[in-house]
Symmetry: C2
Subunit: 240 residues, 2 copies
């Protein structure tokens, strides 16, 4: 089985390197020149398309364009896996653009180079089997288990609702704090230091990821307006 | 030297117990019945008033009432120390109600039973010498040093500005999240778990402390409206 990561950005490099610990022939493709982890073999566009499994780690908003570009060239019985932080929208795109025989396993590895810097053991991955043979699905669940990930099988919509009110709200608050330029303080409490770490970790991610997370998850608008209403209520309550 | 804690609530008990490790004769007074740490001696109102040093840990909004009640009964050369999370307002009250000979050392121990549960070593305490003899001030700095606290000497206004944008914003966000009832999730990221811990730690404190922190610090209103403006800007930016 040949497995190729499409997109070797910050997350792609991290995920490819983790997978290379349990996937013998781990490959990577990136349109532009990039540094690769030593255990991931750099391949051409043609070699990437000829892989048995292609894992897409491009920006969520680039999914449509990438699917159009690879669909005519991939092996018809390939397995395509995405890693998007939203699930409803990219699953729709994969169903729309991929050949009917191509298998689809939607995933959301809920970690990255920051949260996984001391290892991914115990960290969560969401798996939505969209259209995939049972054997192949079980093979990938075994691979994720070998990395000691905590696996959660759910539908794309279940994922998006849950993610909007967990990862979505964290990134939204982190970016607001980033915009406010929270500064270090000699009298920082431990709670304030945690808030600063949330800000730093969030703002370390791509701006594009933040935008996609907020705009392409159908449940984040509800989260934002709930936060807005609660803030307004609290401000009003505190007025003299 | 006899030292008495006035107010043995959640914070008072914690701070009295910590101080009893380095202050030989540590006493405590509480109007109603309360559990006392074994190293803190329960005393009457009269014994409390006869102490050389009285440390006030009552709610910020009760300061005025408490000062009026004790002022006629304390030793004229006593040292009164407050522990309020705001400094400008309680210092004004102490200057207004205490006898002119009575010494005043304003403090803000920036920790509590939650953040200090593994020991207070290295945690910050703000000290504002309002009117106090140099010798007595140095005696108390040595006591705080013996507890290995990090001491920051600043004016009440410097403290309040700094606190509004550190402790103040943390408590404000924590309470908003508490009102939104952030729930546990199988797909919680580490950032989301930090956000939940901030919510829990904040909401564990008295509601009155939160109100006082927000209403009696002259700089928190600016913090809240900056947060509100930034949230509104971000929501607008994300609209389709």
């Amino acid at each position: 089985m040949t497995v190729c990561m499409y997109g070797m950005g910050r997350f792609g490099r991290f995920w490819a390197e983790e997978l290379s610990r349990v996937v013998p022939d781990m490959r990577g493709y990136n349109r532009s020149d990039r540094e690769f982890p030593p255990t991931v073999k750099r391949v051409s566009f043609e070699e990437m398309c000829a892989s048995d499994v292609i894992i897409l780690t491009t920006a969520i908003s680039s999914m449509e364009e990438v699917l159009k570009a690879i669909a005519p060239h991939i092996k018809k019985d390939a397995l395509i896996m995405d890693c998007c932080s939203v699930k409803v929208w990219p699953v729709e795109m994969m169903e729309k653009y991929l050949p009917a025989e191509t298998e689809i396993l939607a995933t959301h590895p809920m970690f990255g180079p920051d949260s996984g810097k001391n290892g991914v053991e115990g960290l969560p991955i969401v798996v939505s089997p969209v259209r995939i043979a049972r054997e192949r699905e079980e093979e990938w669940l075994r691979i994720f288990q070998a990395l000691k990930l905590t696996i959660h099988v759910m539908t794309p919509d279940e994922h998006d609702r849950e993610a909007a009110f967990t990862q979505g709200i964290t990134h939204f608050i982190g970016r607001i704090l980033g915009d406010m330029h929270l500064e270090e303080s000699p009298i920082a409490t431990s709670g304030y230091k945690s808030l600063q770490r949330i800000m730093e970790q969030t703002c370390n991610d791509d701006w594009q990821l933040f935008m996609d997370l907020q705009k392409l998850n159908p449940h984040t608008e509800e989260m934002r307006s709930k936060l807005d209403r609660t803030l307004a209520k609290m401000i009003k309550y505190l007025q003299p």
